[in-house]
Symmetry: C2
């Protein structure tokens, strides 16, 4: 294997795939990036047990030559050192040559690097994904859907299935749900999908979704998604992103969503966020993050929190609408703030069924998001 | 005590003094900020055992009114919560009122905060510093002198005196020295000082100097420095910064600085920095950070490092001047990089006395900086 390649293009592809290389690999080969060089271009692959990322660098992009291939071949190079050294090389052009025993020479300007390469035959084989049905989502929508749900996933490995987000598709509507049993976030959107195509119980690790999000452009670039038996493949331009589907059955959350409410509020999203943020600072001192919300006869809302050592914060807030019974309820201010941060409309709706029942939070601009927060059961 | 005050000015003063409040105070009062309100303005004070910071907010600044004092008085408020809540208050104006038992009410727009205040009589008294002799240094110079020395101070509490920087003044020349026994950094500058005024063995914690640096403007603002028996006082506009002087005698480092060299190099600072930075990435894998420098007959320099698992980096570098014996030496690449980052001239000088003797590094533009790095004693 021998080639010369432009530093910026190589660096970009390496940064893309390196997210999938293990930082503490069980065996050295899993901490590597595989190079496959043909006369068409260079394919880089990295893989741990959960995700695999592949990026293709063509020899030219129409405007200019990116790589000159002298001899095709393959090698695996240790990712951690390679990721850092490439961007620091002195010349815009990098020569890579693999000699006997996978020994690799890298030359750039006045820098000569000799690297211990690994056998590409030992590198894990990428999952096979049969491309039968494909759904298609614009990049910015996919990023929003991920951002608006994964924060509610569990971080506890005691319930592995809840560390992921549940994806389902029905009637062209893609839906994401995440919950840690204390709160739930859901988001749906109409996507381009084959007629009658549907799936359910596709659960993807929220850590993986955060990594995926970083590789997805925040614009209308179309992202192809292919769901196979135990893998999901995302096609992002020249990048292929494979994620394992988590084992297990995701709990049915549809039944806990109330359809009627005893108290309903419509409030200004930013004003409520700021008020709860200040109450949160005080509630945090007591570790429990408890904040109280009390509706007033005059249509305003009082938000408060207290700490025996520090004191008490009390906030008065106008509501745009207030219907139903007067209410006094306590909840986790951190959970509410997480939710408020992803509500993308100027005013928001909150529905209650008394102090002991789930709180429902929704934007007022559209019906594609729904959040649930369980209240604290406190006295007084 | 009762007043109303502009949020931005109060916030600025609180951010300045809060650096001196303990985040984990031994007694609650040390985690507080003291307010002293008179008809002239508001004085804020925070203090831990090492540093005390005081900031004064006048009632007006000539252009506009900053504070309206209704009733003078004093109180101590818990710093951590107060620092965070102030900037988040909804109105540009904040009312503060202290009632019985130091109970403090803070009002801003629709926010009402009741805080448990502490007794100002229990707050530590500021050190007394007699203002006999004062030296004066421009802010940007003081920041440079700190930045160019403290990185070389020890981080080990086994030798407390070496965790500080040694300050001395003689013939109007202020000098800073820091060393951890493996490397040394020194920087001197002519400053405004009374004739015949001199001091030595003034050792200030490098942590304290880093905090001080953040409060010093990066421009020609004059900073007054007053050295007392066991305290140094810095006057930065409306801010007073008191630092304890470390106990103990700083070792005499003047004798370890060689005056003659067997090998001398002048090299381009940035080119050497980049080459050692790449070699460092490889050397880091071996934990020891060893990099080798070898002079060549043709006047170039070879920089190299190797790791048994990863391979080898070799760099060729032009030298602008090369005098004396040929040399082969090994040193800690991290220490050399730390030094190179603070060398403020395009070309730098390096002097050697063989593979076993201290390496001297200096800028070529001026004679106010001197760095020493001890070599590694390796074979081959």
């Amino acid at each position: 294997m021998k080639l010369s390649i432009r530093k910026d293009q190589l660096n970009e592809a390496i940064q893309q795939v390196s997210k999938a290389s293990s930082s503490r690999p069980a065996i050295p080969i899993l901490g590597g990036i595989k190079f496959d060089v043909t006369h068409q271009g260079v394919t880089l692959t990295a893989s741990d047990t959960d995700i695999s990322i592949q990026s293709f660098i063509p020899v030219e992009n129409g405007e200019f030559v990116i790589a000159r291939i002298e001899k095709p071949g393959s090698v695996v190079l240790p990712a951690k050192f390679f990721v850092e050294i490439v961007k620091k090389l002195p010349s815009d052009e990098i020569e890579i040559e693999v000699k006997e025993n996978h020994q690799t020479w890298i030359r750039s300007g006045s820098t000569d690097i000799q690297m211990v390469g690994l056998d590409p035959e030992e590198f894990p084989v990428l999952p096979t994904v049969e491309e039968t049905e494909t759904i298609n989502v614009p990049g910015d929508l996919l990023r929003s859907m991920i951002r608006q749900t994964v924060f509610a996933a569990s971080t506890s490995e005691q319930t592995p299935i809840l560390t992921g987000a549940l994806w389902s598709l029905e009637d062209g509507l893609l839906k994401f749900v995440a919950t840690d049993r204390h709160r739930l976030a859901s988001r749906s959107a109409a996507v381009t999908a084959p007629a009658d195509y549907r799936f359910t119980n596709v659960v993807i690790s929220s850590k993986t979704l955060n990594e995926l999000s970083k590789l997805v452009p925040d614009d209308s670039t179309p992202i192809d998604i292919i769901v196979a038996d135990n893998q999901v493949l995302f096609k992002i331009g020249h990048v292929l992103f494979y994620s394992r589907i988590l084992d297990g059955t995701y709990p049915d959350t549809s039944k806990i969503i109330p359809q009627q409410f005893k108290t309903e509020l419509v409030v200004h999203t930013k004003n409520l966020t700021d008020a709860i943020d200040r109450a949160y600072l005080m509630s945090r001192e007591e570790k429990t993050n408890v904040v109280r919300l009390v509706t007033q006869e005059d249509g305003t809302i009082e938000i408060s929190s207290s700490s025996t050592e520090l004191g008490r914060v009390t906030e008065q807030l106008e509501s745009k609408e207030q219907n139903g019974e007067q209410l006094r309820i306590a909840f986790n201010s951190k959970y509410m703030l997480d939710t408020l941060k992803v509500i993308d409309s100027e005013y928001m709706y909150i529905g209650f069924n008394g102090a002991m029942s789930p709180i429902i939070v929704k934007p007022t601009d559209h019906a594609h998001s729904l959040h649930i927060i369980l209240p604290y059961r406190t006295t007084g």
